[in-house]
């Protein structure tokens, strides 16, 4: 900790002077054009489960990034920024030493609902701001809803701005020996997926594109698992089934008679991206009336080979223990154990991959979003359209390039408009950090010497996600900004 403070002090004193030069007022004030007020604030995000770990990584980068020179004397104002060289210069990091944290997930929709106080009595326990407390920004693994969303009136874009910082795909998952379908040309067809998810096909031998003989070792009952309906993964899959597969606008996965929920846990639907709660439930309770415990019989619904589910391609790929549950680690009470391993199912003969997700050709591709209230952080606009290029932010470095608020610099920072002080300003600056266009607008991590642009990319990839495809990026930013 002491070492870090030393680094932070160096960052605040030396790096700031060397990297950034922004004209400030006569007395010591926060850097011009940003949301800092020289006092640390605590802000909390919440919502998505899929994006939780990636946001934790990015939050860690931000929280420890170069800050102002601070008051380290015990007493009032401990950790506040000290009045320093005038004009004050932005470190391009967490200048005012905010604490940004990520609340335990509840699902994307629920997180956005909390952000907007959309449901009477909203109180996201574990957050700190507001009475009752709710999140200051949301994590979402689904796109904004313009009707029926978690915002008064239903159009989430009237309340919020969605900052897409990464790309993922939803995969349909099969288990254990069903991985053999990966090599079947043209499988699983959209027509077959439709028949599985509307409960027309109840046996694997009915799935025409798989060509499984009735009664063969590969045949068995199809066990479709549902999911927590607040999750963005659920919302993305439902929208895809409605629009691409053709199940219609009123279709809902969990409402189907053949879709299973957990028997324990009060009969709730499982959270996404982790097969352990599902396996543990079957170990304890069986599934569809079968005996407790997993089964190796092809006719038994408790045989994972008969299961079909869906989830994040990135998380399933990056976290082996969430997608591969060894028998040795499972509780032995309740019945026999069996290692359960999740695999991507092909759709129309195509498997998800890093290549087709980055290329935005995977059929269930999705962007992952950081969501802010418009008053806190929004894109500058020209004619109602996000326009970063036409509306540059404050100047960075020394140079003659004309930037925002009369500042000049070697180049201009990303312009994020919104809060000037307090919690609102803190949200604004955490947002800017995630969406600067490239390394030229970022500074170096004082702990690693790496550029934050590189480190944000690594944080995204460590969770199996990809960068936002170039075609989806808002010009002037690495993000896909939807406002």
């Amino acid at each position: 900790m002491r070492k870090f403070l030393r680094y932070a002090g160096i960052a605040g004193g030396t790096v700031a002077l060397a990297v950034v030069g922004i004209a400030g007022p006569a007395s010591a004030t926060p850097p011009t054009g940003y949301g800092f007020d020289n006092t640390p604030h605590v802000i909390v995000g919440g919502g998505s489960d899929t994006t939780w770990a990636a946001q934790l990584r990015i939050t860690q980068l931000w929280d420890s990034s170069p800050a102002c020179t601070s008051n380290n004397t015990p007493g009032a104002g401990l950790s506040d920024c000290l009045a320093n060289a005038n004009p004050e210069t932005n470190t391009l990091g967490n200048y005012q030493r905010d604490t940004v944290s990520q609340a335990y997930p509840v699902g994307s929709g629920a997180g956005i609902d909390s952000l907007n106080n959309n449901t009477a009595g909203d109180n996201y326990v574990g957050t700190v701001n507001g009475t009752p407390a709710n999140v200051d920004f949301a994590r979402s693994s689904r796109a904004p809803k313009t009707t029926g969303g978690a915002c008064p009136g239903g159009n989430e874009l009237t309340c919020d701005t969605f900052w897409g910082y990464a790309q993922d795909g939803v995969q349909i998952s099969v288990f254990n020996g069903r991985s053999s379908i990966q090599s079947i040309s043209g499988a699983i067809s959209l027509a077959d997926i439709k028949n599985i998810y509307n409960c027309t096909d109840t046996q694997w031998s009915q799935v025409a594109s798989l060509g499984i003989a009735p009664g063969s070792a590969q045949d068995g009952p199809i066990v479709v698992w549902g999911m927590n309906s607040s999750s963005g993964t659920y919302g993305t899959m439902k929208t895809w089934l409605q629009n691409v597969v053709g199940l219609g606008s009123t279709y809902d996965i969990d409402s189907q008679a053949c879709v299973h929920h957990l028997t324990g846990s009060g009969g709730t639907y499982p959270f996404e991206n982790d097969i352990k709660p599902v396996v543990n439930d079957v170990l304890a309770n069986g599934v569809a009336g079968s005996a407790a415990g997993l089964s190796g019989l092809n006719t038994d619904p408790s045989n994972p080979q008969n299961w079909i589910w869906f989830g994040s391609f990135g998380i399933a790929s990056a976290y082996g223990y969430a997608s591969n549950y060894p028998a040795a680690n499972q509780p032995t009470t309740g019945g026999p154990t069996l290692t359960t391993t999740e695999f991507s199912a092909p759709i129309n003969g195509v498997l998800p991959s890093g290549s087709n997700i980055l290329g935005n050709t995977w059929t269930i591709g999705r962007t992952l979003f950081h969501v802010t209230k418009k008053a806190d952080a929004d894109c500058p606009k020209t004619g109602g359209i996000c326009d970063f290029v036409g509306n540059p932010g404050p100047g960075i470095g020394t140079g003659a390039t004309a930037c925002a608020a009369g500042t000049t610099g070697a180049l201009c920072d990303l312009n994020v408009v919104g809060g000037a002080t307090g919690i609102s300003g803190a949200v604004r600056e955490y947002t800017r950090f995630q969406c600067r266009v490239n390394g030229t607008e970022q500074t170096l991590d004082p702990l690693t010497g790496k550029n934050y642009d590189t480190e944000i990319t690594s944080a995204i990839k460590a969770d199996g996600f990809q960068l936002v495809p170039v075609a989806l990026r808002t010009t002037g930013s690495r993000c896909n900004v939807i406002s």
């Binding site: 790929s317 003969g349 980055l358």
Partner: protein, 210 residues
Amino acid sequence: MRMTRLRAFAATATIGVGVLAASPAFAVSITSPPSPYTVQNNSAGVPQPFTFSASGFPANTSVYAAICDGTSITSTSWDPTANCDSGTSPAAVVSDASGNVTFNSTNPNFQIGVFDGTGPSGGFNCLYTGQTPPAGGLPSFTNCQLVVMDNAFSSVSPNKAAITLTLQAPVAKTPETPYAVALPLGAIAILGGGYVALRRRRNHSAGVAA
């Protein structure tokens, strides 16, 4: 695979540091093609995906492949999230019961995204010898690698192997002469040749008569 393990054991024994078992880091190898591998270009000079095989992985495990920069995968600083371009990764191949995988380039699902220039994620450049790096200041390598691994998201797994890739310069092709130029020139040549032949025949006839 047996030979690989034997070699690993022999190496460990030779070092003689009291390690009883071969490190899993030596278990995985790319069995085909050999390293370095010269990537073939198509007629337009674009590097083409190729088939490759590896062994030594745990059975029934998803194995990933990616094009990575020239940093050695044994370097303590090597990290697939920084040194590899995940946008080049085909779908994972599930290893067989013996731990073998083959990424067959005839199957679009398993085609490696080999590239010349800046990678699809924009993190680094892979170049052929003598190639001028693209603008942008990204790090450039003429020794990019194909890496196969059972964890493409952190450096913790020892189950990975690499071969060096050699890119080729696009072959300069002699531009074909456009028909708009060739046809008139051909016609002139034929007419000219005919005229000359006619003149010679006339001269020859005159000479004989004289």
